[in-house]
């Protein structure tokens, strides 16, 4: 869409070069004369920030690699040495670790921007898919990089994630060993993770080049979602977009610097300052904040789906939650790109953003945590001051045990026993305790969690103590709304949004009035 080149070499040297390698022409056409829609808002400035982030991560990473030692005995100490002893090492290390977070912050805003304004729709499907590939590569690179400081979270995060791969049927275990280079996370794993962590950013850079190429072929989308129709719809990239990008990037860098200089550890987990210990699991294992939503999806599937067990189900759901982005261009059936003119879709989109944030919150919580108060209760029955009798029974065979026990229980109850307890000792033998006469007692205890209930039951048992030979306990465990339940609802919405809402809504929704051209609402 950029049309014929407007570059005119001014000097003899540039004319000479232009005949041999038209690189100045390429830069001029791409970043100076390139026409951009005149209505781009600040949500369109994140691409520039992301390019900067990639450069910052590569430059700071190359420097860190000059001091880092990828060995299980030295990795943790070498990172500490960078922080303490290497000149300006503290700054460069902080830039790299905070930079990862800033990179993801910017990429998430960039992706939500694309979702809202329909930037994935024809003719930009390939552009969008390249973006998804970049994001997937970023996730892998981020995960690999988090392993390198070899703290407790590094080690156990890597353990949990590689265990996840073991859930794949038949070949899972081989893949797991292949990735780890041994039976567990150890020296071979650290070594290769370092190598791949160094490699992948350059692969990302390559895909970014394709992403920009595809962008310049199809042209930028814009807040109205209307294609550029005439010169009136565009302004030159320089100075308009350049200045806007620089201003927004400056604000972004202020936030970046605030984290680097004032709270470099705010986005990480304190346990990663404990050296990795394969014998000691930290009390909770959580990934970095930018992966929490996917961790929540992984843990939401805590039930078996037919032949798929919960572990594999979680893995499938987690990969599907990223995979669904790749096919999004063909899921959204709406002819209107921008949600600015899709009043209903916009509501669902806003819910979607909240759901993603809530999933992130869930990923950082203990999955068993109860969110809505519930009452657990148990009724204990016992007999005080009765006649206690003990006998041994033996069933004729293992399969007849249940009948024999039931018969014994029935005959003892008929004989006047108030309560009977049968304790199975092995395949056929059991010891039977019965109590007759005495005063029947009953009490109900309540608690807010199952653990507290068990404590209450134990407390009551201790209180009654030797006054009774045994208790009968009937537990009433209610349905509880836990973090897992919440994650399940959120995960359901996440997939419904892509697989049901967008396909159906696109066909049924009556869109608002879309302007004929980009320039019309501005110039009219």
């Amino acid at each position: 869409m950029s049309g014929p080149s407007t570059y005119e070499p001014k000097s003899g040297l540039t004319r000479w070069l232009d005949k041999r390698l038209p690189i100045i022409r390429l830069a001029h056409d791409s970043f100076v004369a390139y026409p951009t829609p005149r209505n781009l808002n600040y949500w369109w400035t994140f691409g520039a920030m992301l390019s900067l982030c990639l450069v910052v991560q590569i430059v700071s990473g190359i420097v860190l690699a000059m001091h880092y030692i990828p060995h299980v005995d030295h990795a943790f100490a070498s990172v500490q040495r960078i922080d303490r002893d290497v000149p300006y090492g503290w700054l460069i290390q902080n830039i790299h670790s905070v930079g990862a977070s800033m990179f993801f912050l910017a990429v998430y805003i960039h992706m939500f921007r694309g979702l809202y304004y329909g930037s994935y729709k024809a003719p930009r499907e390939v552009l969008w898919i390249l973006g998804c590939i970049i994001y997937a590569l970023m996730v892998v690179t981020g995960f690999l990089g988090y392993t390198l400081p070899w703290g407790q979270m590094s080690f156990w995060g890597a353990t949990v994630i590689t265990n996840i791969l073991g859930a794949v049927p038949f070949i899972g275990e081989s893949i797991q060993v292949w990735i780890r280079g041994g039976g567990s996370i150890d020296q071979p794993t650290l070594n290769r993770f370092f190598s791949l962590h160094y490699l992948l950013p350059f692969v990302i850079a390559g895909v970014v080049a394709l992403h920009v190429w595809a962008l310049h072929e199809s042209g930028q989308n814009n807040p109205t979602g209307v294609e550029v129709k005439s010169k009136a719809d565009t302004v030159a990239f320089t100075p308009y977009a350049t200045a806007k990008d620089l201003f927004a990037t400056t604000l972004f860098l202020i936030l970046f610097a605030t984290f680097v200089f004032y709270m470099p550890n705010a986005l990480g987990h304190a346990d990663n300052y404990i050296p990795a210990n394969p014998l000691q699991t930290p009390p909770e294992i959580v990934p970095e904040w930018y992966l929490l939503p996917f961790y929540a999806v992984l843990r939401a599937i805590d039930f078996n789906i037919g032949p798929i067990d919960s572990k594999l189900g979680g893995v499938i759901a987690m990969f599907a939650s990223i995979g669904v982005l790749f096919v999004l261009p063909w899921l959204d059936t709406s002819k209107v790109r921008s949600m600015r003119y899709r009043p209903i879709a916009r509501q669902f989109f806003l819910i979607f953003v909240v759901v993603c944030l809530a999933l992130g919150w869930c990923g950082g919580q203990n999955p068993g945590k109860i969110l809505l108060p519930a009452t657990f209760s148990a009724t204990l029955n016992w007999v005080e001051g009765g006649q206690v009798a003990t006998q041994a029974i033996e069933a004729p065979g293992e399969s007849q045990f249940d009948e024999t026990a039931a018969a014994t229980r029935a005959s003892l109850t008929q004989g006047g026993a108030a309560m009977v307890m049968i304790q199975r000792l092995n395949a056929t033998d059991a010891s039977v305790t019965s109590v007759s006469g005495g005063a029947a007692q009953s009490r109900t205890v309540t608690a807010a969690t199952q653990d507290e209930l068990e404590a209450e039951i134990q407390h009551l048992k201790d209180e009654v103590g030797a006054r009774t030979p045994f208790f009968s306990v009937a537990r009433n465990i209610p349905f509880t709304f836990t973090v897992t339940t919440f994650s399940q609802i959120l995960t359901l919405y996440y997939f419904l949004f892509f697989l049901v809402i967008l396909p159906i809504l696109g066909l049924r929704e009556t869109p608002g009035r879309v302007p004929d051209t980009i320039a019309k609402p501005v110039t009219a």
């Binding site: 156990w156 353990t159 949990v160 265990n163 996370i185 919960s310």
Partner: protein
């Protein structure tokens, strides 16, 4: 081939031979590429020295009754527990309790070669079957055995899963009694 005419016997033969050469060259190239890629994929598998570290010997005489040690085997922790008579009794009694992953205690202490183990020695791989954390042995926990701090799985005195998200029991580590007081894991 476009220039090959069906009734031109000479041309048709040429086209067939050319097709054959294309397919043969292509196949040879594909096999060559696969053979070249394979070493680069296979190098990530455990190296010979890593595999050589695959057995660990444990001297049991130093572990007193009711004590447990963690040893490293192939980089993974293994529990070696000297069980008390009460723990053994509880483990055997619960053979018939309602179990998520039903298994008898006797099967769980059996040696690698299928011979019976000794009830007082329980040798288990120490990674929770949920997501690989290391459970802690908690005296007086709900089922008297291990409790996983990550997601709350409760194991009994035989290492069987009794409550919580873990799908299966803690797997027994393959081991053999070398003599009365020494075992070899792996």
């Amino acid at each position: 081939m476009a220039e090959a005419k069906p009734n031109d016997a000479h041309g048709a033969q040429d086209a067939t031979r050319r097709d054959f050469i294309f397919i043969a060259a292509g196949s040879a190239g594909a096999v060559g590429a696969a053979a070249t890629i394979w070493p680069f994929v296979a190098q990530m598998n455990p190296a010979a020295d890593t595999r050589a570290m695959s057995t660990t010997e444990v001297d049991l005489s130093a572990i007193v009754l009711g004590q447990q040690i963690k040893v490293m085997w192939q980089g993974k922790p293994v529990f070696v527990r000297h069980r008390t008579p009460a723990e053994i009794a509880a483990a055997q009694r619960d053979d018939y309790a309602t179990l998520k992953d039903p298994q008898h205690d006797a099967e769980r202490i059996a040696q690698e070669n299928g011979e019976a183990g000794k009830p007082e020695w329980l040798i288990l791989q120490a990674n929770c079957t949920h997501l690989g954390c290391v459970p802690t042995f908690v005296e007086g926990s709900s089922f008297g055995g291990w409790f996983c701090p990550c997601h709350g799985s409760d194991y009994d005195t035989s290492g069987r899963i009794r409550r919580g998200p873990a799908p299966t029991n803690l797997p027994p580590a393959p081991y053999l009694f070398v003599n009365d007081t020494t075992i070899r894991i792996g």
